[in-house]
Amino acid sequence: LFYMLYLTNVKHVLCFQRVALLVASDIDALCACKILQALFHCDQVQYTLVPVTGWQDLGTAFLEHKEQFRYFVLINCGANVDLLEMLQPDDDSVFFICDTHRPVDVVNVYNETQIKLLIKQDDDLGVPPYDDIFRDEDDEEGGDSGNESDEGSEPSGKRRRFDEGAVERRIERQRAKREWEARRREILFDYEQYEYHGTSASMMFFELAWVLTKDTKDMLWWAVIGLTDQWVHDKITHMKYVTDIATMQRHVSRHNHRNEDEENSLSIDCMRISFEYDLRLTLYQHWSLYESICNSCYTSCNFKLWTLNGQKKLQEFLADMGLPLKQVRQKFNSMDMSIKENLRDVIEESSNKYGLKDIRIQTFGVHFGFKNRFLASDMVHATAALLESTEKDESDSDNFIKALDSLSRSNLERLHSGIELAKRKLMAIQQTVASCICTNLILSQGPFLYCYLMEGTPDVKLFSKPIALTLLCKYLLKAFVHSTRNKRCKLLPLIMAAPKDVEKGTVIVVGIPPESETSDKKNFFGRAFEKAAESTSSRTLHDNFDTSIIELKTDDRSKFLDALITLLS
């Protein structure tokens, strides 16, 4: 159950108004955006789409559109700050926020007039009760007057004489107020300490479409991609992923059931979504099996492919499967049909022998017409590569549009170009991981691991982008955990820094939580970064919607790190 009322409200309100659609730069947001665009199209709602890459962007976009628009829909941005405080909007601006960022700022939660949050009700927000964090000013009226906290202000022209009992009561009340405030600080500290993610925005919008009986297969596919993005980029726990996959599976069967007749007559432009228990081998259907194994995080880490021994093990593994090397190294498309037929079972069997117990995972695939088949994770990698393309000097919004395009099935060419980019990106990640591990670039700083990519490292430009660097960070930490023998280090979070803007002399810094099977994916670096920057007056820019990603002046790196170490020790 989610806020059905809100959702239908949204629809109601938005139907008759022009809407400004502010969309963050992540795959889930793009998918949610596609779904919403399709809904708007259905209802002929006029809207303006504005991609936003960070808080500054969001502020500018708001300023530029606040005159013409009353309604703003924010996708994957805006929930985790006091939005009204930040944007200072007029009283009649209304914000519909569908954002996975947690924790949601308490003011946003309790402001119901201007901030409309679209949140799944079974997402446990853990928001502190209203009375614990807000107090009506009236309650303080007595305690406030006459207390000399605003010392140095002009004395009052008139004074009433209270009886002594009242004075004591006032003192008592002030003490209670101070206690309440201390408790409030504590509650808020606990609440805001960790950053994490809730249900994917595209799933939220899909369910909205479903409630309105306007859902289509395309929308369903986008919702699947959005959810898969959260898994690929490690934003949600494994449990959450499995639960949400189950939800999506129900929708998929519903749709497939509904269109059973059509299914039998596959046509060139038909679309079929299917639940799969498929391999965790990235892009393998668009690559060679061999390259996919080498560049997938799961296999690479488990075999430790950066070691000679690992390479040897891989060869043994391939031999064990009994697949000819020639077949394994050629394009998947060109592999013998006979091999492909039960490939997944063959691989799973051998994997089990080699300790890769969970090489298969619940996911979804799609058929476009006869020959185009994609896994949801293929889509995520391709779209992410387009979104953060560093190919030419294209602007962020160009990349945004291209990435958005690649999600339409009418634009398979774009998708294929994205897949090629994604392969290059994955190889770059794999090489960087290997070289960082082999040259011991990961340093234990005490409370966390730290790795700095120097200017001049191959492909370093790729990693100036937040999604790419975060992915590298995750792969690197997994690889490190597999390779180190130091038990303490296995439990540490990782901070990575890479050159961001050489001219400005800045680095991009990302912090991720420790790697473990049961990780709750909660990230405390956001708060820590803020504190460390504050205490050292480091020149930082906290512009990313993820607070654990910041920009930092290269010169301030060492004092910033020192402060972080002290803070977290």
């Binding site: 006459g146 000399e148 004395p155 009433r160």
Partner: protein
């Protein structure tokens, strides 16, 4: 509703003349303004008056309570059991107060006083509507019933602490002469309650203040100051005196001021912080006026004590002392000089770096007025090291302080000598005000553009205009000024355009300049160590 009034520009704003003329007109106004700091100050004063008035209106509603009083504690007044008092309902109270029996009267009066002393919703209107005020006032005169006198005085005090309407009810029932008579009571706590009540009446506004003065309240109050008056009593007394100095339109009569001043000066030499605070506030009210008013204060010789109190550890003392001195330096050059001679410039740097933003702002405001003085005073300002804190405020102060700091720069550049202006630029002020051109406040932008213009006029005298142009460009000022040509505000647009046309349009000149850029700038920023002479 921005309180600053900026003469030169607001007139230009109205002008429909072609740009060129406007420019000249503006410049001529500019010079005039530079030559007439007194006029400039006047404007600044009116500004601050408005600011302060707004502030006062806010704080007016606040009440404060002084716990340390010489008045007897509630518990000490145990002639009637508290329990009995507390439960009386209003109609009982009315009956008791109106009865002829002294004991009932006392009981009713005390119950009423208790209700009026409760923190929440004291039933002022109910008690007034019940017609009890005339009874209370009549109780004030019963010298043989001190308890009744005291309870009535307290009840009336609290009613007078309400809104103007409440105070009016008290006054119209004839409480003023009764309270003044009560000041002479041999019972200290009764006399003190009368002081408090009179303070509330005086605090209502100029009209009641002057009525009290006409009733000769001042001599009656001052008669109670003697060496063995308890501190608590003196605190109430000082506060009441400060209310008699407070409010304008009109100011309190000069004769009354002259009467109060000697005692205020005396109180200012005591050690109690509450007394000092209220006495300082009194002085700040008295000095918040035209130069004649300021003169009365300066002539008492209190300036050096005020400067001393600016360093007082208590914020509640330091703030009004700073305000008073701020008022005094907004006066004539001579009055300003009195403050300078008393060492105000030695104290200001630390106040400009005070942890409280409001203190920084007041200190910077005072500095801006000293900077509006003759170049001799500007020189003293430089010598005492006021430029570094000024530049710090321009860079990092909160916006209200930055606004004052910008004024200081503009005043400085319009009255200072060429050498002094160069010194200011070298301290980093130019860079800082250029950075401030990004603010949204139109008036501040105009004041900054004015300052830049002044600096260019100084450069002109040295024949260094082009060097300055280059420096401004280097500091990013040209970009900002160019941007301002797109400003919504017509006056800003004009001012920006004038600057550009005058100092940045000639390409040839800039070309010629290039050779000399590297080494020699008179106008250099603080962090660039290039040496040049004028």
């Amino acid at each position: 509703m921005f309180p600053y009034i900026f003469i030169g520009l607001s007139q230009a704003e109205k002008s429909t003349m072609p740009t060129k003329n406007v420019v000249e007109e503006r410049i001529s106004k500019f010079k005039n303004k530079g030559k007439d700091p007194a006029k400039l100050r006047e404007k600044r004063i009116s500004v601050c008056v408005e600011l302060r008035k707004a502030h006062k209106d806010e704080s007016f509603l606040k009440r404060r309570n002084i716990t340390l009083s010489s008045l007897p504690d509630e518990e000490a007044l145990d002639y009637i059991s508290n329990d009995m008092v507390a439960v009386l309902p209003l109609d009982e109270i009315i009956k008791d107060v109106n009865s002829d029996c002294k004991e009932s009267q006392t009981r009713g009066c005390q119950a009423a006083r208790k209700l009026l002393s409760q923190e929440r919703n004291p039933p002022m209107k109910e008690i007034i509507d019940a017609g009890l005020l005339s009874r209370f006032v009549s109780f004030l005169g019963m010298d043989d019933e001190p308890t009744l006198q005291f309870e009535a005085a307290w009840a009336l005090t609290n009613i007078a602490s309400g809104t103007t309407w409440h105070t009016q009810q008290v006054v119209e029932h004839g409480a003023v002469p009764a309270f003044i008579a009560l000041l002479a009571s041999p019972m200290l706590h009764i006399s003190e309650q009368a002081v408090w009540a009179l303070g509330n009446i005086a605090g209502d506004g100029a009209a009641y203040r002057d009525i009290l003065i006409e009733c000769n309240v001042i001599p009656a109050l001052l008669a109670r100051i003697c060496p063995d008056t308890p501190v608590g009593y003196l605190r109430n007394l000082t506060w009441t005196l400060s209310n008699l100095c407070r409010n304008k339109n009109p100011f309190p009569p000069l004769s009354a001021v002259m009467q109060v001043l000697p005692s205020l000066i005396q109180l200012l030499h005591l050690g109690d912080k509450d007394i000092l605070s209220d006495a300082c506030w009194a002085i700040s009210y008295l000095s918040d006026g035209d130069n004649d008013r300021i003169d009365v204060v300066v002539k008492t010789g209190i300036v050096s004590r005020l400067v001393e109190l600016m360093s007082h550890e208590e914020l509640s003392v330091m703030t009004p002392a700073l305000r008073s001195i701020g008022n005094i330096v907004s006066g004539s050059d001579l009055q300003t000089q009195a403050a300078v001679d008393a060492g105000v410039l030695k104290v200001l740097p630390q106040l400009m770096r005070h942890s409280k933003a409001s203190v920084q702002k007041e200190a910077t405001w005072a500095l801006s007025n000293i900077a509006a003085g003759p170049c001799r005073q500007i020189q003293q300002l430089i010598t005492c090291g006021l430029l570094p804190p000024l530049v710090e405020q321009l860079r990092n102060g909160d916006f209200k302080t930055q606004r004052e700091a910008v004024w200081a720069v503009t005043n400085f550049t319009s009255g200072g000598t060429v050498e002094q202006v160069v010194h200011l630029v070298q301290s980093g002020a130019l860079e800082a005000i250029i950075n401030l051109l990004q603010v949204k406040d139109t008036k501040v932008i105009l004041v900054i553009l004015d300052a830049i213009n002044n600096i260019f006029m100084a450069a002109e005298k040295l024949g260094e205009t082009e060097k300055l142009s280059l420096l401004v460009e280097e500091l990013g000022g040209l970009d900002r000024i160019e941007m301002l040509q797109n400003h919504d505000n017509e006056t800003v647009y004009q001012a920006a355009r004038t600057l550009i046309e005058k100092y940045f349009s000639d390409d040839d000149v800039v070309g010629v300049k290039v050779d000399s850029t590297d080494d020699s700038f008179v106008f250099k920023t603080s962090d660039v160590q290039r040496t040049f002479e004028f």
